[in-house]
Each structure stands twice: as structure tokens, then as C-alpha cells.
Symmetry: C2
Subunit: 332 residues, 2 copies
């Protein structure tokens, strides 16, 4: 099977919204208004292990990109996939079918049409996905629009994926619910779109709340001034029962580390004025996603962790690709 047959067999679907699907020099699709564009790469041994479940890998490769659209309040339109992989994988129809099934199923669920594909031989698996969405420009949820006094929210639970990864790295099978959260994150697309005109700023949580929230606070500073700051109530961090159980032998500090610096949550963190608490509750209910108010934005730079109103000192480090040499996170 050559590269053209690979694309035709595994990734060419009947065009739905596209005028012209994969197979020409370019694919063609109609768009209206403002495009939201993002790109992410996943590298074998870095973002996932070689023995990863290929169906989960296909799902996650697209899910992390859809999560970027969600954080912008954008509606999915189209995506592209560059897939480099060793020839034996390309010839392994079970692997290819599972990978493409994971990818294509999620793409169809979000009506996000695959508009460009490139497959090439490579010593290790590398996946790069670019995603294109649409959003009315004045309604896009930018990182830079947080204001002093805003409430800070997160969706879903924090720490589940990081806990599952820790179990895997320790050679233990994680509880199914946690593993699911690591392998098949559910992008919060409906919630992001529902927060248009309500939230001030949003980001998706890929590297851990503490680092990702800091991006909002830095981007939202007035030009030439210090970053904004925040107080976070540690007792409000949304925690799943499965996480509680899996973390039963840990100290509070260890649990908070998973929840604040573990990464791979793919939940939304957003800020909104106090006056919007009711519309936010409605948007969350409509999207079928729990959201939790965990703190608020302050003028003074820095993240302040509170427990029963008292400051708690935490040493947290977010992941950085060129500093940390351990595996970042994995899809299985």
C-alpha cells in the first residue's frame, strides 16, 4: 500500500460540508466570517508511548485541537492531519483502522471535516493536526480579556488524567474512569460556544491549571504593567470520586500537585464578571458540563492558594517541552 492508497483507504470520507475533499492539491470548503486556527503536534515517546491504543491516539490527536477551538468559543469547521509513521505501522491495517476510526469518529461528531492529509514514512510516529473553526470576532474568548474582580471557573474535574498517567508510569492499571479521562478527553466545544458574550477570557488546560491560568493573568495585564494575579480556593477544586479514591494515600499537597500542575485535563478555565453567574450556570447546564467557581482575579500579580481563607504555600512546576525530559503525557 502506498501513501495515496493509505489516505484513500483510511482518511477519505464522503465530503459533507466540503466542496472538494482530500485527494486534490487542496481541499475546498466554504467559510464565513472570522477563522480561528490552531495547530498541535504529538510525538511518540514524548506525548504518548509506543504501545498506545491507536484508537485512543486518533481520538486524542484531534481532541486536543478541538479543545483549543473550545477555549476560543469557536465552532469547528475543518481539520488537517499530517501522519508520519514507521512503514510496519502503515502496513498494519489493524493499527491504521483503529487510529483512523478514533480520529474520524470524533471529527464526524463535531462536524469537523478532514480537509488535508499527508502520510510519510518516519522512524517514529509524529502527528500534527491543524484545526480551523469559525467565531464572530467580537465574541471570541481571548486570553487577554480578564478583568480585576472576575470570577475564575473551571469545567469538569481536575487531576484525573495526571493521576492515571502516574499509575501507568508506576506500572499499575489505573481505574477505568481515570484512564478514560487521560485517553479520551472530551473537548468542551459546546461550553466554549455557550460562553460567548458571557465570559471575559478563557484557556484550555493542557499543562495544568497553575501554568495555564498564569497565561490568562499575564496576557490580561495592561500594556507596560505587571501581570494580574488571582486567589484560588483549594477546597473548591473540582475533584472526581475516582480521583479521591485513587489519591486516598496522598497528602493534600500531593493531590493539589496533580490537580494544579499535572496537565492533560483539557477542561476550560475561564473568567467572567460576578454579574454573569446565572448566565454561566445556564450555559453550563445547556452544554451538559459542570463548571465550578474556584477563585477570582486580583490586581496584585501572583497566584495565591487559600484553604479556609488562609494562605497555603505550594511549590508547583508546569511542564515545559524543552526543560522537562520526562514523558509529558500519554494517550495510553
Amino acid at each position: 500500500m502506498n501513501e495515496f492508497e493509505l489516505i484513500r483507504r483510511y482518511f477519505t470520507r464522503p465530503a459533507r460540508r466540503a466542496r472538494l475533499g482530500v485527494g486534490d492539491d487542496c481541499a475546498l470548503i466554504d467559510a464565513h466570517g472570522t477563522l480561528a486556527i490552531s495547530t498541535d503536534a504529538l510525538i511518540e515517546g514524548r506525548h504518548f508511548l509506543s504501545e498506545v491504543d491507536p484508537e485512543a491516539l486518533g481520538h486524542k490527536a484531534l481532541a486536543v485541537n478541538l479543545s483549543d477551538l473550545a477555549a476560543m468559543g469557536a465552532e469547528p469547521l475543518a481539520c488537517t492531519l499530517a501522519l508520519a509513521l514507521p512503514a510496519p505501522r502503515a502496513q498494519d491495517s489493524g493499527w491504521m483502522q483503529a487510529f483512523s476510526h478514533g480520529f474520524n469518529t470524533l471529527a464526524e461528531r463535531y462536524d469537523c471535516e478532514l480537509m488535508g492529509g499527508d502520510t510519510t514514512a518516519s522512524p517514529l510516529i509524529m502527528i500534527s493536526v491543524t484545526i480551523i473553526g469559525q467565531v464572530p470576532p467580537e465574541q471570541a474568548l481571548r486570553r487577554s480579556r480578564a478583568q480585576v474582580g472576575d470570577d475564575i471557573y473551571v469545567s469538569g474535574y481536575l487531576g484525573d488524567a495526571a493521576m492515571a498517567l502516574a499509575w501507568l508510569q508506576a506500572g499499575k492499571a489505573p481505574p477505568a474512569a481515570l484512564r478514560q479521562r487521560l485517553e479520551r478527553p472530551e473537548p468542551r466545544v459546546a461550553l466554549g460556544m455557550g460562553l460567548r458574550r458571557i465570559a471575559h477570557a478563557a484557556i484550555d488546560l493542557s499543562d495544568g491549571l497553575s501554568g495555564d491560568l498564569q497565561h490568562i493573568l499575564t496576557a490580561s495585564a495592561q500594556s507596560g504593567t505587571s501581570p494580574l494575579g488571582a486567589s484560588i480556593d483549594l477546597e473548591q477544586l473540582p475533584t472526581s470520586p475516582e480521583f479521591e479514591q485513587a489519591a486516598s494515600g496522598l497528602t493534600p499537597e500531593q493531590k493539589w500537585h496533580y490537580q494544579l500542575a499535572g496537565g492533560d485535563d483539557y477542561e476550560l478555565c475561564f473568567t467572567a464578571p460576578v454579574s454573569k453567574r446565572e448566565p454561566i450556570a445556564q450555559a453550563a447546564a445547556q452544554a451538559g458540563v459542570e463548571v465550578r467557581r474556584i477563585g477570582h482575579v486580583e490586581r496584585d500579580s501572583g497566584l495565591r492558594w487559600l484553604k479556609q481563607g488562609q494562605p497555603v504555600t505550594l511549590k508547583l512546576q508546569s511542564f515545559d517541552h524543552f526543560i522537562d525530559t520526562s514523558l509529558k503525557h500519554t494517550a495510553a
Copy 2:
């Protein structure tokens, strides 16, 4: 330097057409009408050698994608870059500056704004670029619209890049003009746009004329019928003086192999009705690109090579990533 600083330092430019540049979850840009989308990946050791000139690599990574837009008659709008590379490269500011300069310079020349970036550590260099252009949908140059009787044209010269690569692989320094054609292909964007409403079908030449023209002939067959065919006049293949000189010791068959199956030309091959010869000459002159009429489309499947009207038998094989294990082509 971490991944965020890398993107900020080397790839974040003042937004020109974009509403919001790199640095948020997504970038934002306005679009109108139909998008043309394509993606290409370049892998170290597969598409280029490790000791590649980084400035040429940056240029070529974008040029091959712009060439896909050109083949569609589309106007560049935006691009994304996923760059995976070993940490020592990321820390090498000379390498990074040269690579980003090659990429950014070409992007600015074609007003093709970088709208998404991802950098990540990896054992080897992998570059994936997605490009987005715009084209009035009914004017897009599809592969599938060739008709029996159409003239077949190519732009520029054929075989220069393949000849330069052969010299490099033999350990010899190729003539500067040929090396330039290998390292810094010039995408035929203006020509592609000029061929709207004139040409029937087009493709860009990445794997060699014989294989790429076959894609047009296969795609243009009526549903359920055999591919169309073509006759090509070997004496009309456009040949640069530098190629002639570099190939002076070769047989005609060897020269034709470089020109028909060598790959990496990044010229346009297109078909048009006989009635359009004058408008095509005008479009080519306006784009500042030579085009040559080399044959015509026929009903009978297969490629027929002619010399002085007599058939010539050639054994040609186009490159396939999962069959050929040698280096495909290189940017230096």
C-alpha cells in the same frame, strides 16, 4: 528558552491581516468565500539531510505548501507550522534564526500569515505546515477537469532539482543554479491565479511529471471508465542550460528520467483547450514565468512518449514514501 519563548522569539510577527496573531489558543483571521486547504510534512533523513541549510529548509517547508495553493489557483491567506526538533537545535539561535528567516521571509512575500505554531522536543526534526488560501470555487483548478484534446503545459524547467540532488548524493557540489532550484523552489502562485478560468486542470510537480500527470489523467476519467491518456513530446520538455551542461555525459534516457521521474520540480503541470493558447501565453507573461506546451490529452489510457513523432519506450518510476527507502529529496 522554553517553547513559549521559542514561538515568541522566532515566529511571532506583528499581525498584518490577522485580527489576532500567534499566542492565544487560536489565532483569528477574516476569510471570504471558499477556502483551499493543504498540508505537508517534512521529516529529517527522509525529505532532507540533517546538515541541511536551515534557511533553505525554512523556505522550502513553506514553498512546497504554497505550490499546492498555486496548483489550485488559490491566493495565500494563512499558514500554520508545527516544528518538532531536538533540544540542541532549539537552543541553537543561529539555526533557529536562519530557519525562521527562511520561513518568515517567504510568508511575508506571499502575504501568507503564520497563524498557529507548535514547537516540541523530538529525537529528529519534523516540520508540518498547513496552508489556507482562498479561491472563487468555480474557478479552482481541479485535477479532475482535464478533457480529451486539451493541450498539456508545464512551467519553468524540469529536472534541475533532481540533478542537483544526484550530484549531492554522489558527494559533488552541484552547479549553483541547480542547487538553488533544489533548495529554494519558487512557488508558481501568480501563474496559478492567472490560469483561473483558462486552464481546465492543474497539479504541482512534486514527485515527477510522469506520476503527477497520471494523477490528472486518472482523476479526469468519467466515472466508471478508464483513466485518460496523453502523448508527450520529449523534445519539448523544458530544459535549463545548467541542466544540459550538468547532464552532458548522460544518455537521452537518463536525462529524461531526471526530468520525468526525478521529483522536486515544484512547477505547475496543467491542461487547457487548444482555443486558450493565447490567454495562456498572456497569463504566463504576466506572472513572469515561462510555460511550455509539451503534449496533449487523449482518450486512450497511458502515457505515450514521442521523439520526432516516433514512440519511445521509457521505464520510469515515481517516488513512493512507503516503497522507496532512499532519501526522497533534500533541501540541501
